[in-house]
Symmetry: C2
Subunit: 553 residues, 2 copies
């Protein structure tokens, strides 16, 4: 392998632990806090988690280590999409485990939760771990999207743990994976397996967040990477002065990524899906909102701009959701065959016109032909529209173009409109973790082992006070059930971790709201540049604007 | 303006000058070299440049400054596409100019060469310049694509210079802009205007390169930025293990960018347009070449990969060029109206089938329908196919998919193929310049002023020995005519700077060629990470692999 200069240099980086974890394993003791309650539906959640509900939140402190001396055999799993820093969680876990007892063993289950079920693993040693320190990606053991949620799976998992003498499982994942970790923990406790389960909060989407989890790991690095390239594009727009760039960023169910990127780069436009839903905005209203900025800037002679579009925004537009349901209905089962047999798009269009409600047809009509065709021609194996494939950045630029033509005819707009399109997602999920994510992740892993060593089960590794220097971070744990409520999923009531959407009365959105009218007209771009791992602390140890604003800084 | 932490920190960076320019203006003297000849067509070029041809190459040295003490009024122009470091050329120019004589004045003509013709300018001062030190973009004065090439334009330029008492013009541009700089210099000399012209070699494409110019500025930063995100995508591919990423990178006429990115990131596939042309490859052959890698990797259980596609590659495929010519012919003038009047794509297809040669129809047939339609439906104002709009990354992934289906039927391929697409260009043209580009550009500007001060005209600011630390760089100048030859352009013989294509017997390509068979099958990715401006020299002062290989390092 031909390692890059940066990768070699990053191997030498020593991640910063929270102050109370810096005195060596023998000097880490537990301070118990209050018993916890779930955020909602307490009785129902309690009934579902009789063995793991209501436990105390804890923090670690400097003091004599009173944990039981016992050999630990731990298994770790990466679950779901990549996020920068996953390798460091495993490195921190490994280091604490080995520092506690050289005989302790760390198993890595491969390709996600399926590795546990299929007993597909490797055993970490120093040489192997050292190749992954402070690097991006999940390639250390791979990840996967298998969900651990059935009793049958749990029984298999218990068998595998028993076979290897595993005492604890660490699941590194998002909200669903941590929900499953809690259910697995309850199962293990109920069945007296003696196996503990600890979760770690991962996701670049930033939607695993609440009063306890200040941010999920990876969000910092991913948004910094997107902001780097968005800033570069802004500077290009402001130099060439002839293009409007429509930039889609990852984030299907929440717009934290888009919002953070907007706070970092101050573009002319940033859509926030949660606001679109709250205001029940139509496609036409959104297009008008963007066209207003284009028109005002053109009046100032600025025929260029940058608009950030969150990946999932169309799903938050009420009329568009209705359209999608109607299309899914229209093509359900055998009806798809009749549709597919129609020879030309014109024939198909007539079929669609007949099948959709008047309201949905009105929405369908304004879509650009490419998107219209995509909705009908590219469907998933169940025949459903693949909403995630919709190129919403192109959709909105096409709608804006139409709006501008109307305005040109009305005489209010006389500018030029040339659009370019971008989508950033895969570019940021596997970047070398920022110093913040490298430190935070290493601390989460180190801390996860301390929770194991002290016998906790169904706990989330929790590191907080993150807007302060690492020295002041607080390490501890809390029952995963604390974050849960009951939600209706696939027709069933399920205990799940509440997904954190962008709060429209939260400080980050409020800041954006207070400035966006100015940004829409002026050129107020900020150029963050590439993530720096070295240099002045204010450059290389800065965390997100979202976190800073939430913490009132 | 809300400046990023990095931008503030970069203001404090002090660019490194070549050693011989470090002793102060009063200690810079000239060493004359040999008289020069153009690279080809010497007699013709000499006849076209009677006043500026054949001058001596010069280098600067430490020694008593013997230049004439005279007030300099210099105008600077940014020409063409953005490249990181343009601001630093102007800063270096400004600093040398002011260090020589505080009374000297620097004009910046706005929005490219048109600023000179329209007398649209600003006058730089310390406060203004300081806002742009070590930043990306061309927003300091803007850029433009107006070509300075007619006698009428030159006469206007001479008038504007006379009006302001301008003694020299610095043109920062690519091969065409420097060609025009040489012609303007000759005009100014022939007409005894007393105005000098100095060129600076800019372009991220890397095609302004020869035995004198080791690299154009911006190439280093742009390719590092693309390599960062390509590396991140590689790491994502290697973690998720389920996608083939087809990544198009900028570079229409030469594949230096693609090649450098491949050398930095070691992808499975990288197409090189010059090789495609030399081997007269067909679309089908290229698709088979990529499909071979997909098939071999699938046989190893690796259903993922990364392929880099240079932006201009389809124009280098002989059969595709013929197809484009035929389409342009088929739709020329009134024939387009007949075509446009056809009601359905089916009718249009029949029209096309009748109009194309059998050979071109065979090429047309294998294209995905989206590309077929684009070729006919999206034409420029002259009715020509817009080759630059062709999404070649999608074209090749579609062709590869077809090939794999054939192989699946033949039983040689049993893998899964899911493709994702990316295009990187605007992301890198305005990044904060790497230390290399910051130093190189500042030196080019500083050096340009020394050439002015010593009375040179029609010279290129030349800084060489670039693979060594800046201390060892060599600063000087040479007549732009040295790089020229005669080429046929738009039916006329024109003196132009020879464009540097990727040399198939050059060291960078040879290195790639020696390794690519291994990279095609194995996962040999290198992850360069984000450009670093601070930290260990081997991380933050590294230049391109292309330059290192060319210099035998």
């Amino acid at each position: 392998m031909n390692l890059s200069a940066l990768q070699k240099a990053r191997y030498a980086y020593v991640p910063k632990l929270p102050g109370m974890l810096r005195h060596g394993i023998s000097e880490i003791c537990v301070k118990e806090g209050l018993e916890t309650q779930s955020v909602a539906d307490q009785e129902k959640i309690k009934a579902l988690f009789p063995n793991t509900y209501g436990k105390k939140e804890i923090t670690f402190q400097k003091g004599e280590n009173t944990s039981e001396a016992k050999k630990q055999v731990v298994g770790v799993i990466l679950s779901g999409g990549q996020a920068p820093g996953g390798h460091n969680v495993i490195c921190g876990l490994y280091d604490a485990l080995k520092a506690t007892n050289k005989e302790n063993v760390l198993y890595g289950f491969k390709k996600g939760p399926s590795g546990l079920l299929e007993d597909d693993y490797l055993i970490f040693d120093d040489a192997y771990i050292d190749e992954y320190r402070n690097t991006g990606g999940f390639d250390i053991i791979g990840s996967g999207r298998t969900k651990l949620e059935t009793k049958e799976q749990f029984a298999v998992a218990a068998e595998v743990c028993k076979k290897h003498g595993i005492t604890a499982i660490v699941i590194i994942g998002g909200d669903d994976s941590n929900t499953n970790a809690a259910v697995l923990a309850e199962y293990f406790a109920a069945n007296n397996t003696g196996v503990q389960v600890i979760g770690c909060p991962k996701t670049i989407d930033g939607d695993l967040k609440n009063e306890d989890i200040e941010c999920s790991f990876g969000f910092d690095t991913a948004t910094k990477t997107y902001s780097e390239v968005i800033g570069n594009i802004e500077r290009d727009a402001n130099s060439a002065k002839k293009y409007w760039h429509f930039i889609k960023v990852m984030g299907r169910s929440a717009s934290h990524v888009a919002l953070e990127c907007a706070l970092e780069t101050q573009p002319n436009i940033c859509l926030i899906s949660e606001e679109v839903a709250a205001k029940k905005m139509s496609l036409s209203q959104i297009a008008d909102y963007i066209a207003d900025s284009v028109e005002k800037r053109a009046a100032n002679g600025d025929n260029f701009g940058v608009a950030i579009i969150p990946e999932g925004v169309v799903e938050f537009v009420p009329e568009f959701s209705v359209l999608i349901s109607e299309i899914n209905e229209l093509l359900a089962g055998a009806k798809a065959d009749a549709f597919n047999a129609l020879p030309t798009w014109k024939d198909k269009y007539a079929f669609i016109e007949q099948g959709l409600s008047k309201e949905s047809m009105a929405v369908f009509e304004i879509l650009p032909e490419g998107i219209q065709q995509q909705l009908f021609l590219e469907r998933d194996p169940h025949g459903n529209v693949q909403v995630s494939l919709i190129e919403s950045e192109k959709l909105f630029s096409a709608l804006v173009k139409d709006k501008l033509e109307e305005r040109r005819k009305a005489g209010t707009y006389t500018g030029k409109f040339n659009a370019l399109h971008h989508f950033f997602g895969y570019e940021g999920r596997c970047a070398f973790p920022s110093n913040f994510d490298a430190d935070y992740c290493y601390s989460l892993g180190y801390n996860a082992f301390m929770l194991i060593q002290y016998g906790y089960n169904g706990y989330l590794s929790k590191v907080s006070n993150l807007s302060k220097p690492a020295e002041e971070w607080i390490a501890g744990g809390m029952p995963i059930t604390k974050m849960m409520n009951i939600e209706r999923r696939h027709g069933e009531d399920k205990p799940v971790i509440k997904k954190a959407l962008v709060e429209l009365d939260g400080k980050p959105f409020k800041f954006f709201e207070a400035h966006r009218d100015q940004w829409a007209v002026e050129t107020a771009y900020t150029y963050p540049g590439a993530i720096q791992y070295y240099g002045p602390a204010e450059v290389c140890d800065l965390t997100t604007r979202t976190l800073a604003l939430e913490k009132g800084e």
